[in-house]
Symmetry: D2
């Protein structure tokens, strides 16, 4: 079928390519002209203005926005005046689902169908396909089905779950209409909340393994430092790249994230190129906000989010309060950090 | 080669079968005679006493214990008197690595080589092979290599990690000599600590998804209960089995545990057959103990462990303290639980 | 001076009494007529309708709402039509500070000054005085100063902080103008977030002390249960009431909450009258929401909040997921709870 | 009565002074001669060798060790050869209670009574008295009662708990015989575990308050950074010293630690002299180890301990794993820290 793509960054461009390989006609637009021109050479129709972009698409139109969450509002302001009459517009980025609910109301009044899609895949999506979590009105979602089917990884991407045969549905293809407006981004939001925690689980475990040689370190013996009672229990110099690798086969913790961990550790056992200041892009925070509003305990997901905050020194003032209190009640002076090393 | 297997529960029996399929001669023993008899019909040599078991094996012997951690000590007491002269004995169960270090010292003095193996695989190992994390003296580990190679899943069990070609080693077969005595169980211990957290990450996320319809519930309006500010944000009735399924293809959270989650939710969307009293078998606790001794923060792994404790009502007295304090300072009476439902 | 009090529950009634003892003229109103009648016998002016209530107060009026957060909006709708011309209205309850910011804008447009006050004190406030955290416009807050001063505990309630002499200000009296609209409820919100964590700290610690006799229990020996390695380390039957009491003098953990803990445990060492279903009233949740929005790690405050959720069985589905997964990968059947006891 | 004090650091010296003021005869010893000489001028008997120290005391002796946990073993080795015949020796430091249990067995065999005392008080103890948690054999503890009574704060240090009148016992004086050997240090251990969490609760809360102006900051708008949705909700510049002060009177979070917080923030609102590398001295770790062995959930206490570890950069490798993974699956480059500020 035909799709208009707005936003030709890494993700948008890859998705257009995947769609074109599947035989779809793509009209493309970006505020910078280069990416559209590049895709034009691969057969896409490059639009040079929003107005032209809309004109190139046959009504009722199917349009996909692949832009940062922070510019969705502006993008809608730009394009909506040219739309109506059963046109459908997809937000495939990382918007907050609250915004989806609000936008749906506003756009339905104008005869525009708004569809929210939580898109997984990152830099691997071009090759593996994109896992799509979809929210919005039934009819519009059904109309876009050929697009979703082409973007998704396909059933071959994983072995069949026992009992799934004869069940039908798109879910085994890797895309799912989760529910009404916002449901797609809600499910993607929680996906990312889980993702943070899975990553943190491996990270903490590997950190424990890395310090399995703690008994070899010389620790100062003073009232401020707890000595290891049994240094003989911490004498292992473990090869983390090998350990991640061996877990990939036959263990309970095997996963795609573990595959990537094994790759990263093989490339650089010390991960010396990374500073360890870990960003977070919103979904993890919103997951915690949802958990708290639903009164659902989420200690693991929260701990993972806070670890990211702490990695960016956001605990600094709290830590100073602790030091100040220790000084107040115990006269404890802070110990200077030994040059070049933690602990 | 030849291996003696002590302990013919579900795991031990499956491992013997896998070894026999690979052409190894197995001598088998269990305190109950039946399992040995059954394996004898499949070609194993069934021993009826510890003494006979040892006699059936050619020196230097290779022996594997697959017994609960709590009976390893007794098992060693029974068999060690008949061993010596470079015999090797493997503990393939879930022993605490502290015990490995101690036992190694005791047994080396008697000319017996003790090898600790953290074995992953559970009920799936028979089919998938066992992921083996090995600790102990180099020579003994090398001697047992054919056994490890036959038990492990093999390189085909996962696609090759980029950069692994030409590196050699057993790790791509799914077994790894991690280090000196105890290293195998140490690595398995942390594996399980991670496993608990991965499981908890999915569990918390699914719980948030399941209550995405919180806005549909009627909540009482009193000073003790926080009303939902925006019930319109929590109106989703999500199909968790489908969501787990769709995440299996192309998403970041794909994993073997997610595969199993999809299976479980497909079988029973409400998981009504489970009471949710979650056991823990030691490794998760020891992982936290190691983290604390190494002074490594493990908030995610700890939260996962504590969730299991709480599922078994171990927070009960702490909760009563909270209720008692709320009554003391605020006169807050506890609210009775509405029949048949939490919250 | 003169104050109108709307809402004559436990808190509102006590506050009126404290104000009258201090010589203030109080006009009182409640949707139920009884509490106003009772206060009339103690010298208050009982109004029987909103209109009459407003008429009884001299302009510019000072009015205090002491009603549940959920009915503030309705209360304002009822009274605001009669107000204007520099009248000031205080929300002394537990409103979300977002609402304060919004209401201030709406009311300033009508010439009404809105002041938010986070009020601590509970059932003890009548006797100890109320700790007041105040937000809103400077002039209105200054005008209400005699009211705040009479409600607050007074400087004698705590020894002077070193360096506070000659600093002046109301803070040593126990009330503080924290900042612009919403600041009072923001500070009270975080106060409650901290309160939850302080309570949880004592609760967890006491739970550990209570189970210091874990080595005396008989635990079953199977693969699902971790035996205590050193039962001889857990043979203490501790008297928790005495321990809470001894900590009250000279220890680092002395606090008002500890005083109450000591009282509660003395009354009932087992706290058998409490079921341990712990409510939460909003501020703890909002504190976490604020932390997440500010990207400030709050693992301790969050853990305390989640413990309350878990006490109300909100983890139930998550726990079932864990049990289902353990069954899927390990064939682990859940263990029935032994009758009459956790663990 | 008569007491020998070994270890004349800050704590030991203060305790001798308090005992002498109460009329007890003190024999004192330290490996450095100066502190004993100084106390001799105040009336103590200064011993210049272990042998002389023991000789100066009348049998059956009462001896108190106030030395770092790491040198208790050596101290016992030095003094025990001169002891026996019902002599009692107190360990008043921060020993692990496991050691108490072991030492008691060893020393009872030699006719020496070992008493463990968890001593709270820090630099304030000289003035406030010491809160004493005592473990060990009944008879020896009873014999030392006059010493405990003189060191403890006394009943006047806190108002009486309702219902305590006519109950008798030492607990209102601020000392308590908690149970058999190790019980004193066990109770002190959990005390410190709680202490860490109380401190962290205030620290996290104050950190949230300090960043209540987050909406005033300029945050970059890119896909890696979550913008504040409502900067208008975070416009407060709060005076933390005043907030801590106001909470001291009439609020639920009033405590001795809050008193010290108010002092520290008044001295230095930014706590600029502190680096925020927070030490931990063992008891917090042992508390978690005990919780895990007892299978008691301790998420709040654990989070507080881990925050200290993290303040010392112990999360570093874990954070690098997270960054490496984000790069692997999403191509996310780390963002450099803006000069001079976290976030």
């Amino acid at each position: 079928m035909e799709l208009g793509m707005i936003g030709l960054g890494r993700m948008g461009t890859s998705m257009v390519r995947r769609l074109q390989r599947a035989g779809h006609r793509c009209v493309v637009y970006d505020i910078r002209p280069e990416p559209a021109r590049a895709l034009a050479e691969e057969g896409a129709v490059a639009a040079t203005s929003p107005q032209e972009f809309v004109k190139q698409l046959a009504a009722p139109r199917a349009i996909w926005m692949m832009v940062p969450a922070g510019v969705v509002e502006q993008t809608l302001k730009t394009f909506v005046p040219y739309l109506g009459g059963d046109d459908a517009i997809v937000d495939g980025g990382n918007s907050y689902y609250h915004d989806d609910i609000r936008r749906t109301k506003e756009l339905e009044a104008k005869g525009i169908h708004y569809v929210d899609v939580g898109t997984s895949g990152g830099v691997w999506g071009a090759q593996r396909g994109y896992c799509l979590k979809i929210g919005g009105p039934e009819a519009a979602v059904r109309r876009l089905d050929p697009i979703f089917a082409s973007l998704a990884p396909g059933a071959g991407a994983a072995p069949r779950t026992p009992g799934r045969a004869n069940r039908g549905g798109s879910v085994e293809q890797g895309y799912l209409h989760c529910g009404s407006s916002g449901a797609g981004h809600f499910v993607k939001m929680v996906h990312n909340g889980i993702e943070y925690a899975l990553m943190a689980a491996y990270a903490e475990g590997l950190n424990i393994l890395r310090h399995a040689n703690a008994g070899q370190e010389r620790r100062s013996l003073d009232a401020e430092t707890t000595p290891l009672r049994h240094p003989e229990h911490y004498q292992y110099n473990l090869n983390l790249a090998d350990i991640a690798e061996v877990w990939r086969r036959g263990s309970v913790v095997a996963s795609w994230l573990l595959d990537l961990t094994a790759t990263a550790l093989l490339e650089s056992p010390d991960l010396a190129n990374y500073s360890g200041r870990v960003s977070d892009s919103g979904e993890g925070r919103w997951t915690i906000a949802a958990a708290v509003e639903e009164s659902i305990p989420a200690p693991v997901l929260s701990a993972a989010l806070y670890a990211r905050f702490s990695s960016r020194a956001e605990s600094e003032f709290a830590n100073k309060v602790l030091s100040a209190l220790r000084y107040q009640f115990g006269g404890h002076e802070e110990r200077a950090a030994p040059p070049g090393s933690p602990r």
